[in-house]
Structures are given as C-alpha cells and as structure tokens.
Subunit: 105 residues, 2 copies
C-alpha cells in the first residue's frame, strides 16, 4: 500500500490532476519520496474515497469541507456562526424547502 499518484487515482476514482489539486488545497496531503514522487498510503486512499462520498452523496463542496475544518478549529468563529444561525431558523427552513422543490423539478 504505497501508491504512486496515478495508481492512487485509478483506485479512488479521481484523476491524477485532481489529486495534486487536492494536495494544494490541503485536503489530502500525501508523503513524498526522496525523489519528490508523491506516496499515497492507506490513510490517504481512505481520505480520498470518503471525500468522494461527501461530494457525491451530500453534494458537499471542497470549500465546505475546508470551512468545517476551520469551524472546529476556531471557537470564536464557531460561536459567531452559531449565534447567527440561532436567529434565522425559520428563514432557513424555508430555504431548505425551496431547495427541495428545485431538486424535485
């Protein structure tokens, strides 16, 4: 389980290009050989697969994942967002229904 970028790509359903992009974005960061070649282990392959799930099953964007990470790391931000949301539940339920209507169409 020491895959090179192309093999990891084939096994996870991403393209090699995207694997490099995801590394740039900081979402899945592989190790490196002395030569500079990326090394994907089990951990990274699992991350790639589940990241794919998040997108396909939940329509989660990459920026959303990054934001969730920020959220768990920065308590000030978490509180601010939490507070904001508390004042808007009615409106957001409405939005959710609109969204469902669109998906149904």
């Amino acid at each position: 389980m020491e895959l090179t970028v192309g093999t990891a790509a084939r096994q996870t359903g991403w393209s090699a290009r995207m694997l490099r992009y995801l590394e740039d974005a900081g979402l899945v960061v592989p190790g490196r050989r002395p030569s500079g070649y990326r090394v994907y282990g089990m951990r990274e392959v699992n991350q790639l697969r589940s990241l794919r799930e998040l997108r396909n099953r939940f329509g989660v964007e990459l920026s959303d994942v990054l934001f969730a990470a920020r959220l768990r790391r920065d308590p000030g931000l978490r509180d601010a967002v939490h507070t904001w949301l508390a004042g808007t539940d009615a409106a957001l339920e409405w939005e959710q229904r609109k969204h469902e209507r669109l998906l149904a169409a």
Copy 2:
C-alpha cells in the same frame, strides 16, 4: 422599525440589490406587504448586520453560512463530515499554516 428595502440597505451597509440576493439565497428573508414590498423589521436588520460582521471579521462566505446551517440540520451529514475530519487533522494544520503564510505576504 418597518423598513423598506432601500432604507434597510442604508442602515446595514448592504446595497438594495444585495438584500434581494440574500433573500434569494435564503439567508435573510423579509416579510412582504400586500403590494409585494419587502418589509425589514428589527430581526432582519440584526441578521443583516451580524452577517456583515461574519464576512468582514472572519472572511466567511455566504455559502459557508448556508453550509453551517445544513450541518446543524442534517445529522447524517454532520457525522460524515465529522468522521472525515477526524482522519485529517495533521494535514489541515499544515494547510492552516500555509494560509497564514499567504496572508502574511
């Protein structure tokens, strides 16, 4: 405190255009008069002001706020994201530092 869209805009620092956009996005949804005119009350004005804070102080995108709302509403999604994050903390701390380096430059 029954503001029309232009007045609410002036008092919150948004443009009237943006207020309509925010309604579309489902983030701040005013009431309506029989004529169709939007009505912004205290609640909405507060939402608008604090939304502005979120953007300016934390650089939060509108899509981020919507995502946070989804997150709190959909436990399945919350678990999936939570699980994903658990496997990536090292990588994301690295990303955070990269981000800080960029901001410092």
